[in-house]
């Protein structure tokens, strides 16, 4: 199974890297960019066919390592 874990910064957490990217997009002439938040995507290959178990495992992986829940949220999906 292929799974995807998406980690994003929580609302209200400052993201200076996102701000810098936003500035660079403006410099390239892209008008109307109202904000950029940088996150991370993990594509994970999981053995087995039990999607519920895989999802539970991925939730645990995200909570224990992939995200720092002080500042980040995560979302888990089975993508194929």
């Amino acid at each position: 199974m292929k799974a995807r874990v998406t980690v994003t910064l929580k609302n209200g957490v400052l993201d200076p890297q996102g701000k810098a990217i936003e500035g660079a997009l403006g410099a390239l002439g892209f008008a109307g960019v109202g904000g950029v938040r940088q996150g991370k995507v993990f594509d994970i290959e999981i053995a087995g066919t039990d999607a519920d178990k895989a999802k539970a495992d991925l939730e645990a992986m995200a909570a224990k390592l992939l995200a720092n829940t002080v500042i980040e949220n995560y979302r888990v999906e089975i993508v194929g």
Binding site: V13, A20, N68
Partner: protein, 220 residues
Amino acid sequence: MKSAVVVFPGSNRERDMIATLEKISGQRPVSVWHADSELPKVDLIVIPGGFSYGDYLRSGAIAARAPIMAAIAREAERGVAVLGVCNGFQILCEAGLLPGVLMRNAGLRFICKEVELRVETTASVFTSGYAKGQVIRSPVAHGDGNYRADDETLARLKGEDRIAFRYVGNPNGSIDDIAGILSEKRNILGMMPHPENLIEPLNGGTDGRPLFESALKAVA
């Protein structure tokens, strides 16, 4: 004083820390490899600075899950003093031994310079050699030193007198100018600045010395 310095792949300040501990305590610290799961019986455990695992994922995130960390947590629970400097502070936060997180510097630049710190509490084995409110010099060298914690955690840190050092002139955007914090039991100190690099006149000053001397005195 018996001490141990924990070394991860990518640590790079362990030699400075070992030299400092040896000079001040008269005993060479034991180097402990991150993959070990046991620590020797020591009075002080130090996690030095560096770039453990190349700062992959988040600074300190991979190192915080290394086998040695469970042993450090056990010893800390018994009351053994634990000091994390720079990457060591990041690792302690990622391991949940200290609250909060160190994010990318607000100005996005790596900062390598000398800063001033105000000693905010003398109630710990690491800060009892200073005077409350004393301003000391200390080098900093980090890209991810921007301390963040939620409002509740910050209120607890303040209410429980657990902010050890604040920056005088915040270099990295840290919330409430925080440069170093103590654990609930006050035996774990995490700080971004490098007191081990200012312990004798040849370093340009001795402001870091009382931190190690008071830890030594506490176990004597």
